[in-house]
Homo-oligomer: 360 residues x 4
């Protein structure tokens, strides 16, 4: 079977990655690529690594150009995807709309307002957008179950995915304290997009590491808290999760290494901690708990839809350290999107997605 596909924001990093993966997906047929200022030019000028689509001409990012495709990827700045989605509701009721941006991730309007400075998009009807993190552990079952047949998919943030898969099972198992979580992430700059800003210049980032968005102000903060509150059956915004979250920029194009330190619940033994993770992911294709003692490197996930996890217990500190590695543009963005699309469309979940990283 073949589904027609449109990708907006096709000149950016997220849009480009959606195209790269679509090119290897046997049932996705890219018919339309759109951009704003570059409409009219060929995709090959902007994404020369995508040889298959080099001669496709970019159209403008309008609801009209996107309408009518079976699957529509929105890889747009926040605000923009909501606006387009609202238009597509009328013209493309049967399309699967996949928002790679933030507009439809948060269910709590106050959190959205606090972190994004505006009201929820009018396209964000309560319950209409399925949150696309299939492996998210919930008190009963997993998030996957909400995705079959969905027609609106909100794709999680990259940092959010890395932290959520690492700790949700421990929280769901009651093994760690929801109010004493610390996460520090090493991030490649592609997560910041293809925008020409001085602090993202190669000269600034080569040979250097630096934090950003420190102190609870990063826009991924409320989304992580939402997920982790969900994992313990609590209210996404007012639940007990308290997380100190710090991303840091390091000199690799892609990749997120999340290191999370959590206070172990009294009476939980190390075996139970490990079992909480291995049990949660035993049947998962894309999330792997590595053999004891093997610590993940982000390079092992490059280009793959894998999340690799390891943990160690520090009895003296009374804490467990869990680390996870993902490719921010694959399991963190476009790969996760296609995984969710597969589920929504009823085709095998792993179609078109690899677990083999491009390493070294």
């Amino acid at each position: 079977m073949s589904f027609s596909v449109a990708v907006s924001g096709a000149t950016g990093y997220a849009g480009g990655e959606a195209l790269r993966l679509a090119a290897g997906h046997p049932e996705l047929d890219v018919r339309t690529v759109t951009a704003n200022s570059n409409a009219g030019s060929l995709l090959g000028e902007h994404q020369p690594h995508l040889r298959r689509y080099a001669n496709m001409q970019l159209q403008g990012t309008t609801a009209g150009n996107l309408a009518g495709h079976d699957v529509i990827f929105l890889a747009l700045p926040h605000g923009a995807s909501g606006a387009i989605a609202a238009e597509l509701e009328a013209t493309s009721p049967g399309s699967l709309i996949v928002d790679l941006g933030a507009d439809h991730r948060l269910v709590d309007a106050a959190s959205w307002a606090k972190f994004y400075g505006q009201g929820l998009p009018k396209s964000h009807h309560p319950g209409s957008w399925a949150y696309g993190l299939p492996e998210l552990v919930l008190p009963a079952g997993k998030q996957r179950e909400t995705l079959a047949g969905a027609t609106r998919l909100a794709v999680p943030g990259c940092n959010v995915t890395a932290v959520t898969v690492a700790v949700a099972p421990l929280l769901a198992a009651g093994a760690i304290d929801p109010a004493d979580l610390v996460a520090v992430l090493a991030n490649g700059p592609s997560g910041a997009g293809k925008s020409a800003k001085t602090h993202l210049l190669a000269s600034e980032i080569l040979g250097s590491a630096s934090p950003y968005g420190v102190g609870g102000v990063h826009r991924h903060q409320p989304e992580i808290e939402q997920n982790l509150n969900w994992s313990i059956g609590a209210d996404p915004a007012s639940g007990p999760i308290r997380l100190s979250f710090t991303p840091t920029l390091v000199p690799m194009a892609r990749g997120i290494l999340a290191t999370i330190s959590a206070k172990i619940t009294a009476g939980t033994d190390p075996v139970a901690l490990r079992a909480a993770l291995t049990d949660a992911y035993a049947d998962e294709a894309f999330v792997s708990v590595l053999p004891d003692g093997q610590w993940p490197s982000t390079a092992w996930t490059l280009g793959a839809n894998s999340a690799l996890i390891q943990l160690a217990v520090d009895e003296r500190a009374g804490r467990v350290v869990v680390t996870s590695a993902i490719d921010n543009l694959v399991k963190g963005t476009a790969g996760q999107a296609i995984q969710a699309v597969n589920i929504a469309l009823g085709i095998p979940e792993t179609t078109g997605l690899s677990t083999q990283g491009v390493a070294p």
Copy 2:
């Protein structure tokens, strides 16, 4: 159809990449992986990025363990592949043996002796090993034509591929002087393999560029000359090709950027130079001449079997500069191997190989 596959040297970079690509190839079924000192352990300890094969147990690299598979990849140090190949001749006459190493590349025994310090392997019967660079332009036709039905494949070296695809068409067209070629390459250290040497440490290579094998002493020198002499119908060792070849190590894990400067033949105009390249590769899936003015980046080929080429004419200097970018482990090694295997086995040449690079 499904072909059984064995990969020796499975813990190294070339062997690992053969496995990565085999995992995405619908007709290759990896049954056996071998190594020397690590026999008995699981592949996942050594190649953790290859999730699909993580639980395969490594066997010893012996002809016995490799025998009987439809396709046998030899990713071994020079000398070792010839020795194994000699044993396999008896036990596996019907197997397709694919040497990713150097043992069967050079047809001239004196060149082999000069650069490798030993006699040609006894497995290297004249004419028995097809040289696996399908796009190599010959005076009549291309190297591809020698590959259909081959049972012994010698896979070209990575630097060799980068230089050959860039200049063979210009030589074949008589557009450049065979005796005044200069090539300087920027190379990622994975080309040097997974051996623990001080000068390959991250601390030494991060933030630095340095040349190696300077002055005509690199082992890829005679192989490049062989190919380029072939492209003009000359003797591979005594032909007129004279090449100043300098590789340099730069801080990227993978990738080769080859910059070749050649003296333009009197009377050749710029249009003819460009046409020589575009004509040669117009129908090729894996070698692309970029639109005029777009210069290749190695990142655009990461993980892909692509070679990207561009050229510019410097009329004042009377020279043309051609550059090519490849992933040394894909089009430079394992991808090229699988491309040649596809041809040899009679399946579509592009099966299991992508032209989409993992960028950024």
Copy 3:
């Protein structure tokens, strides 16, 4: 005035950096360089970046060759520096011995035994080695006061320095909970030394981030706890400090970015937190609290003896995040050593040390 200097371990990274800084120090005169397996060769073969000393011949690392210099730097593996120091006690009683290694850092024998698997070196007489972190905030005064006139200096570990300078003032001020500290560090691989190990190869580290020594097992763990316990006047080994400490390797040759999240003591306001840091370092030449909102990059400290610090309060999480950036080989090793040497010898503390990083 001019002091004669000997540097052992001169072919390694720490020894090399001591030489680099000595070359710019007007009162240090390097007379002797020693190594083990490379004795007899010229320093320029091993440290070609140190042009000034390129023609010095390496001698063997023996007490005899080191004896009699005014200042003797020991840049040796743990165990080795203690052994040499024991010999030098007899032959060089008047020399200033500076141990860049671990042998004389820990005062608690049980901690040493647990993390290093052996008894304290016999050269480690109680109280004989001054711990060389001048800016370490103590309940009364600073560590600097113990250094004037010292003849034995134990130079702190690199991770230790990064964490200590970031949080000691907050602990000393009672502003954070000593029992709920989490530190995650981004580390350049030069901290692991110039040893040829597979996991330190450029191919493995380029484009990747990975943790190591997770779960309280890293050898810097007890040293950090010692310092932080000192900062609150507690016993170095049995005091209340509980720290979850995770270093991670990232692709930069040098540099440490430490991110520390600590629970804020009830009743402490954000202004007091910041003041604790700025007050502590107001008069320091080498430790700077950046202007509010400016977050440190490790590149800003490259080659300099600087530590740069910033913090943010996360009121929702009830935690403060403090980050510090240093060059692991300068303020983390050889620069710190020379700073302590300056104090010990009674020359101005900043002599020969720069606060200007080599950026970008």
Copy 4:
């Protein structure tokens, strides 16, 4: 003695490096720093690695603000430095004006017009600007001799320096053919300045190598030809030098590795080639020919004013390959400037400049 210093373009990479080196120079006293759009802010906001000057306030880049200092560094875009210099002629006749930009480097107006698209700046009176490459080998003597007492210094381009020091002695000795030179350079992106352009983003450059300015169109082309023509006593623009010059961007913040391949003159033996280089630089503090067989790495020059050179003869190709490594911002820009300033002011040439690179 102390000279008052003003630095314009103080927020950029070249200006920043001039400040970094001035901070370590005992006779330079930085009084004024200027910028355009950032006038009024503190230098520490823009150059946080320069702790010493963090609290200096930026003034506007006007002739008025710069006038009257003993030494005035112009680190400005081409066109801008000429305009300011023209104003300073009147107000600061006694100042030493040092142009780190291109405006006063080329003596041939036609070359300037061709590559920069405008007439020579009116400040560029014939013979008024000394060209600041002290080690440039001329038919009789060296360029150094023109610098003593100069009041106008044109600082060479970074690529220009790397190529010139590598081949000028061979040309001057008649050992290589001036009409068959090929240079390929590996360049860190800091050479392109601190401008926010998409192709200079870390995401684009990490893990990649790519050429730029190919085919004789780079603005450093005529300047290299000028120097090399000078080295053989020929006219700077119409002399016999023919050079194929290709810079390539590689993922390191700083550094240039130049690889030059040149046709050896008939009858020149390998010993004479090497001797031409070693003789030329035997007495130089900053240019070193490495011991035979040791090839330069750019990291060895990081932060240092060193140029490191090595060569090998390829008898089969009839060519010599010379490589040189420099830090583009030090020996390629600001270090070279200060070296020339030292000579112009009559203070020891090496004052304030190190030959010790910050490696690893």
